[in-house]
């Protein structure tokens, strides 16, 4: 298990998640001003964007040639990658939002990670650029139309996006490794 986590670089990602979560926890009440966005952006809105920018690099398969030699089902490693990435994102969000209601932040981070999986399939290492642009759009939208986190059905959104994007990710990665 430990070897698999290391192979997928989830150990480094988990360390970063704890670090990022700790910073988020300390700054949870802040509402920083972001460039070009007229209104302050609350941390529950900002944090999911930060999480999916910083922690979804583990979704990229670095040893795709070696994948064809493994004896397990080709969907196992991509599934482990996807679930591992979702877990690290959830850990960061849970630590950061632990003083308030972490549920919606975890869900939004999960949605971000699911979208990151799709971007990674198409863009590879350049996925982070698309995520940056998408995150910026999300921040400017959410700053001007604040979400009511208590009422948002973010759990359903996270589940649907997770199943949909995760399914496409695992299926495509498994096909590639055949």
């Amino acid at each position: 298990m430990r070897t698999v986590a290391r192979g997928l670089e989830l150990d480094v990602a988990l360390l970063l998640a704890v670090l990022l979560g700790g910073i988020g926890f300390l700054l949870w009440g802040e509402e920083p001003m972001l460039p070009l966005i007229r209104l302050p952006v609350p941390m529950p809105t900002l944090f999911p964007a930060l999480v999916c920018l910083t922690l979804t690099w583990t979704l990229r398969e670095r040893w795709s040639q070696q994948m064809s030699t493994i004896v397990r089902h080709p969907g196992v490693v991509p599934s482990a990658r996807f679930i591992g990435t979702q877990t690290t994102c959830a850990v960061a969000a849970a630590i950061a939002g632990s003083a308030a209601h972490p549920g919606p932040v975890i869900c939004l981070s999960s949605v971000g990670a699911s979208l990151a999986a799709l971007f990674t399939l198409v863009l590879g290492r350049s996925a982070v650029f698309a995520l940056l642009i998408l995150s910026y759009l999300w921040l400017s939208l959410a700053a001007h139309h604040p979400l009511n986190f208590a009422e948002t059905h973010s759990g359903w959104l996270a589940a649907v996006s997770g199943v949909l994007c995760g399914g496409i990710y695992v299926r495509t990665e498994a096909r590639r490794s055949r």
């Binding site: 070009l36 910083t54 690099w57």
Partner: protein, 424 residues
């Protein structure tokens, strides 16, 4: 020569980088909406402000390039070459040129659009462009160092997030505006850049970029690690004096112009706007003449001239035009702005004091509502059953005395004499 551009990859990779960087620039301009169309200065600021996303994207591209080069031990390969430093530092310069080209293209497009729509140019402000490009150099340098130093997978997101956070810290004032490149939200009417601040910020960025370039160069030049460390720290130390100067003297990029130029139109009343924001002048002049009619019919003497409220410039003997949100750069005029302007016949100093004259502002508001009602301005927001609504529906003969005395008091800045015409 071709070998120097190997890092850039094939045609499709180069095209993808261009498109990606251009998309980031276009997104910034898109988020600005139409605000930059009405002012050349705002257009310039948003053009250079494209670096807000172009900068992190370029830093990420640089990190991606250097992490790939490092993982393939390109540094060992070029270290023995005669002009190895060109091959090693070339990508950093190349990505800077890419970002600069996108920023210049975006700036050119927005400036041309604003000029075509009638905005007056302020060419002296163009000196900001080379100064701001130093910020991009620092961002690209940070991306290069992160890419060359950290594991491959993590370097790109780290470079992108770091440069974006530096911009955020600059906007919030935690660091003295060093990575702030534009994207102003106001109309910049009667304002200009404080070039002393921009120069100091550029100096900090040059020192940062130099430290990053030196740090990269020591990957291929064999020197003692202590010498390399001293050289990099020495370059970084050059950033301390300008940083300290920015901290001590303030780091606001914009200052009021000493004598802002006005452009006027119409008669009785004549309307004057800053030469920087003339887009709404025609509509404002027409609407001002229309809405002034009910006051003139009552024999109320309105000022000869209404002047736009500008930072640092006070025209105390004139009426005051105050634009809300993007009104100063918009093509159409909000009739409520005109009603409020007509209800402000003089720029009384009390309006600009720290303690707002609440009662006077309330009376001015009722007067503005009356002007708006008489001119059938939509969306006044006063309920017909409220006390104010009932007063507004009374015959003009009953309102005239209050209107005349209130207008006279506002014109003479006797704000303590003002009351509302109904019980609160």
């Amino acid at each position: 020569m071709t070998s120097l551009f190997l890092w850039a990859g094939g045609g499709s990779a180069r095209l993808a980088r261009w498109l990606l960087t251009l998309a980031a620039g276009c997104l910034v301009l898109g988020l600005g909406g139409a605000t930059w169309m009405g002012s050349w200065k705002v257009a310039l600021d948003w053009g250079t402000g494209t670096l807000i996303l172009v900068g992190p994207v370029c830093a990420g591209i640089c990190a991606l390039t250097y992490s790939t080069m490092s993982s393939r031990r390109w540094d060992l390969l070029v270290a023995g070459m005669r002009r190895g430093y060109v091959a090693w530092l070339g990508p950093m310069l190349g990505v800077w040129v890419l970002g600069l080209a996108v920023m210049l293209a975006c700036t050119g497009v927005v400036l041309a659009t604003a000029s075509a729509l009638g905005a007056n140019a302020s060419p002296t402000m163009l000196w900001a462009v080379p100064l701001v490009s130093m910020t991009l150099a620092a961002q690209v340098g940070i991306g290069a160092v992160v890419g060359a130093s950290l594991p491959r997978a993590f370097s790109v997101p780290l470079a992108v997030v770091t440069t974006f956070l530096l911009e955020t810290l600059s906007v919030s004032g935690t660091i003295p505006g060093i990575f702030r490149t534009g994207g102003v939200t106001g109309p910049l009417a009667g304002e200009t850049y404080d070039f002393s601040v921009l120069r100091l910020q550029a100096l900090v960025c040059i020192a940062t970029a130099a430290a990053c370039a030196l740090s990269l160069a020591f990957h291929i030049v064999l020197v003692r690690s202590s010498v390399a460390l001293f050289a990099v720290l020495g370059a970084l130390a050059l950033a301390i004096p300008p940083w300290w100067a920015l901290e001590s003297t303030g780091h606001d990029r914009y200052i009021p112009e000493p004598s802002p130029r006005l452009v006027c139109k119409g008669n009785a009343p004549r309307v004057c706007l800053s030469a920087d924001t003339v887009r709404p002048l025609d509509g404002l002049s027409r609407e001002m003449n229309r809405q002034a009619e009910p006051l003139l019919e009552l024999g109320i003497e309105i000022p000869d001239r209404f002047v736009q409220s500008l930072p640092g410039a006070r025209h105390e003997s004139d009426g005051l035009v105050i634009f809300v949100d993007a009104g100063a750069t918009a093509a159409t005029i909000d009739p409520r702005t005109v009603s409020l302007a007509l209800a402000t016949p003089r720029a009384c100093p009390q309006f600009f004091s720290k303690r707002a004259p609440v009662r006077a502002l309330r009376s001015r508001g009722v007067l503005a509502d009356w002007i708006a009602t008489e001119n059938n301005v939509p969306g006044i927001g006063v309920s017909k059953t409220s006390r104010e609504g009932r007063w507004l529906n009374r015959p003009v003969s009953e309102q005239a005395a209050w209107l005349s005395s209130t207008y006279a008091a506002l014109s003479d800045c006797r704000l303590n004499d003002l009351t509302v015409p109904f019980r609160r």
